[in-house]
């Protein structure tokens, strides 16, 4: 897009985020409190076993049904200095892998007795091995999710894989995971996922009601809370937000794509909005909002989860589905959600996102969808450059 930073029509497109936040102190302060406490505080509050879930999707219902709290482990943001992990993983490996490892070396996963990794990329797979060797007291599992969901064998395979996880968790925690408990957990997480879908619906329909940081915090809190508490939080927040009367600003409607694993710093999410964008859809914390609709609450619960993975998963860079190419899905979402542009936000060194960017970019160019590439690292702490780029991009569209 052409640079327009020196345009005589240039104006600042800022929203007083803090003022908006002040309008709902109880909800947001609760969210911030949960996020500030992080995984160890979440585990401490639970008073039972806790298991760390590396991104992206994890079958949290199985852990929850066993009485364990599934906790999302998304690296350490900028909060740790790497003193051990750099010697294990090279400079060209993503930040989230290294900082997740560092958390364990620095004993900052207290109360979390296990970690589960998934078949999302080559780094995550090797990280599971490095964890297993260096922390033999932790329960470690690695889950292979199907990459061929249309094969006649996929559903049986996925069911068997989830049964294997159920068995391993049962042995680790020395407790039986009943079908009833599983169905109960599915119901609990269904409710929280449905409310998150409502939150995103609100962003699409009236993005002025909920700013990006608030929405992010509300979703991210769910990775640290038991589902019932997350449901309460979301219900209260949605009720407040639906009453919120805020004037719509002159901003472009964008979809942010690429940050499904390593999470951008909150500052970057804030900057995207302040620089002139309404984020009407994104893939932040994608694994915890994985299903397009509810998982079946009756019948064989393992089969229900497996079926949901094969047929109800959201398109993602970590999941192949030849019937629904991701780049075509992106173009469809842009059309359906009336988005004006796409901001690609891959984490530095994230191969799945960086590869997908090429096909995403092609489809955007074919469909004449404006787009901007914004690579980030969880530990980045200055956003001036990003702000300039986004502002220029947004203004070039606003004044077209």
């Amino acid at each position: 897009m052409g640079a327009r930073t020196n345009s005589p029509h240039r104006r600042r497109i800022e929203v007083p985020l803090t003022a908006m936040a002040i309008a709902h102190p109880p909800i947001l302060s609760r969210c911030r409190e949960v996020l500030a406490g992080g995984p160890t505080e979440a585990a401490r509050r639970w008073k039972g076993p806790a298991i760390g879930c590396f991104p992206v999707y994890s079958p949290v219902e199985i852990f929850h049904a066993a009485g364990a709290l599934p906790i999302g482990i998304f690296g350490a943001g900028g909060s740790v200095e790497l003193t051990h992990a750099d010697a294990r993983f090279q400079s060209f490996v993503c930040s989230i892998a290294k900082s997740t490892l560092e958390l364990a070396f620095q004993k900052r996963l207290e109360g979390i007795g296990g970690m589960v990794f998934h078949s999302i990329c080559d780094v995550a797979r090797n990280l599971a091995s490095v964890y297993r060797r260096n922390f033999p007291d932790l329960f470690i599992d690695y889950i292979h999710f199907p990459q061929n969901p249309t094969s006649s064998g996929s559903l049986d395979y996925t069911s068997a894989e989830l049964e294997r996880v159920r068995r391993n968790i049962s042995v680790w925690l020395e407790r039986k995971i009943t079908d009833d408990a599983l169905r109960e957990s599915i119901r609990a997480y269904n409710r929280s996922r449905a409310l998150m879908r409502r939150l995103y619906q609100m962003r699409e329909e009236s993005p002025e009601r909920v700013n990006s940081v608030e929405a992010y915090q509300l979703v991210r809190a769910g990775t640290l809370l038991p589902p019932q508490e997350h449901v309460e939080l979301l219900e209260a927040a949605l009720a407040d937000l639906e009453r919120r009367a805020v004037k719509r600003m002159d901003r472009i409607r964008v979809i942010v794509e690429g940050a499904f694993c390593e999470q951008p710093p909150m500052g970057l999410i804030e900057v995207i909005e302040r620089a002139g964008c309404y984020v009407i859809d994104d893939d932040f914390v994608a694994g915890w909002r994985w299903f397009a609709n509810d998982v079946a609450e009756t019948g064989d619960p393992i089969r229900a989860l497996a079926g949901a993975y094969c047929r109800q998963s959201r398109p993602s860079s970590v999941r192949h589905d030849m019937t629904r190419p991701r780049h075509e899905d992106l173009a469809k979402r842009v059309r359906e959600k009336n988005a004006q542009a796409v901001i690609f936000a891959p984490a530095k060194f994230c191969e799945p996102a960086l590869f997908d960017y090429v096909l995403f970019r092609r489809v955007c160019e074919r469909e004449k969808i404006p787009h901007l590439l914004l690579e980030f690292e969880e530990k980045m702490w200055t956003f001036e450059r990003a702000r300039n780029e986004i502002e220029t991009f947004a203004e070039s569209l606003l004044f077209e």
């Binding site: 993983f89 080559d122 797979r125 060797r133 990459q147 061929n148 064998g153 190419p325 191969e351 960086l354």
Partner: protein, 416 residues
């Protein structure tokens, strides 16, 4: 420096050249062809239908060895590929965009793209992109990673189900009916080649080793991974074993003197293959085992394709018996056995930026071998395809310093 080429090298070149001729012919005639990857592949199925297999990885490495990869990589980066993406993919995409694939080229446009997803997640992206650029149908074979000691029966059933779906697709493409007896014949030929390759590797336990199990293995990786299931490949390994047995009897190795025995982990820097090799040869260092030579299959522990149960044994190969579908810790065990059983003096880890499957976590591997196994270990970094990541002077310094310390250690232990 010594000339490493022997009759095995020439023989390999001849049969691999014949394979390339087949592809060039298919480009002209439109005879059926399919893309497939090296790792734990099911080339036997394509061969049973006389579908010519095309291996984009082999094309990419050929481009690197011939020092043609960089402009193609740059071409891909102009299309939006990141400097952090696998350069094998970028070289292949650049080659495709420059007209390297198609009717008037040496490589045909494939009738089918078979993505054998065996460990490497980049495979999925690579072939999704190929399918998009070449407008060819993509067939995914999802191979569950080996996450317990043994695969479950459901893992095997899942892969076999997909192989049967692939067979149905091949029937449609070729108009031929599947013939299980033909597949049995192919598997028997695979088995013969595997026997030979395993025997050749085993001969490297001798002093001196008859060939370098890293650098010379490249001559054998073509026949075992690309031509497996053909008479050419089976005959090649019979001849290679004969030659290596004669070398062992005559105490003949690839270098005038074998001073150090190494295990090498990681793919080689193809753009600087010869000069990298010379850095080791200068110290009389010979690789007696390597992990890279097992990306396609691990044959040295006894696994063979089984003509009596062809589909199940193909599935077992894809899930269990290749380096890429096994965990990093399984690789530590593999290397440990290599060091102990092949009596190696040291481990060299060549860490490459392109392939995170291989390299992510190799610092931990070094820590394990130095700290827990007390194996002298050198870790060096470059790339297998992108020449920009190879710094010759730095590489030489590191390797020289490592061998100086090994030599010093040897002198000290002898004087004690």
């Amino acid at each position: 420096m010594a000339d490493y080429k022997g009759t095995v090298h020439e023989h390999s070149k001849r049969i691999m050249g014949a394979w390339y001729d087949t592809l060039a012919q298919a480009a002209k005639t439109g005879a059926p062809s399919a893309y497939i990857m090296i790792t734990g592949n099911c080339v036997e199925i394509l061969r049973a239908f006389d579908i010519a297999p095309i291996f984009p990885e082999v094309n990419a490495l050929q481009l690197a060895i011939r020092k043609q990869s960089l402009p193609l990589i740059l071409k891909s980066e102009e299309m939006g590929y990141s400097s952090d993406n696998c350069a094998y993919v970028k070289a292949d995409v650049g080659y495709t965009m420059e007209g390297g694939i198609g009717k008037d080229a040496k490589i045909p446009t494939p009738n089918l793209i078979v993505c054998n997803f065996v460990g490497c997640n980049v495979y999925i992206k690579w072939f999704e992109h190929s399918a998009e650029f070449l407008k060819a149908p993509l067939f995914m074979i999802d191979v569950p990673f080996l996450r317990e000691k043994e695969p479950s029966k459901e893992d095997i059933t899942y892969v076999v189900a997909q192989l049967k779906e692939l067979i149905a697709t091949c029937e449609k493409i070729t108009g031929k009916k599947f013939d299980i007896d033909r597949l049995r014949e192919v598997c028997a030929l695979s088995r013969r080649a595997e026997e030979g390759w395993a025997r050749a590797k085993d001969l490297c336990k001798n002093r001196p080793a008859p060939f370098d199990a890293y650098f010379d293995s490249i001559n054998m990786m073509g026949p075992i991974n690309v031509l497996r299931g053909s008479t050419d490949a089976a005959d090649f390994f019979d001849a290679a074993v004969q030659e290596f047995e004669a070398d062992v009897a005559a105490k003949r190795g690839p270098l005038p003197e074998e001073k150090f025995r190494l295990v090498i982990e990681g793919p080689p820097p193809y753009p600087y293959y010869r000069s990298f090799r010379d850095l080791f040869a200068a110290w009389g260092a010979v690789a007696v085992q390597s992990t890279y030579s097992t990306v396609g299959g691990i044959w040295e522990w006894g696994y063979r394709h089984d003509p009596e149960r062809p589909l199940e044994s193909i599935a077992e190969h894809m899930i269990v018996h290749n380096l890429c579908n096994r965990s990093l810790l399984e690789r530590y065990s593999q290397i440990r056995r290599y060091v102990e059983e092949w009596k190696a003096d040291a481990l060299v880890i060549h860490s490459i930026k392109s392939c995170r499957l291989f390299s992510a976590g190799q610092g931990d591997m070094r820590d394990y071998f130095v700290g827990e196994r007390h194996v002298p270990t050198l870790l060096v970094e470059s790339d297998l395809e992108d020449p920009r990541y190879y710094a010759h002077a730095q590489m030489k310094n590191r390797i020289d310093a490592f061998f100086e310390s090994l030599e010093h250690r040897r002198i000290v232990s002898m004087s004690v």
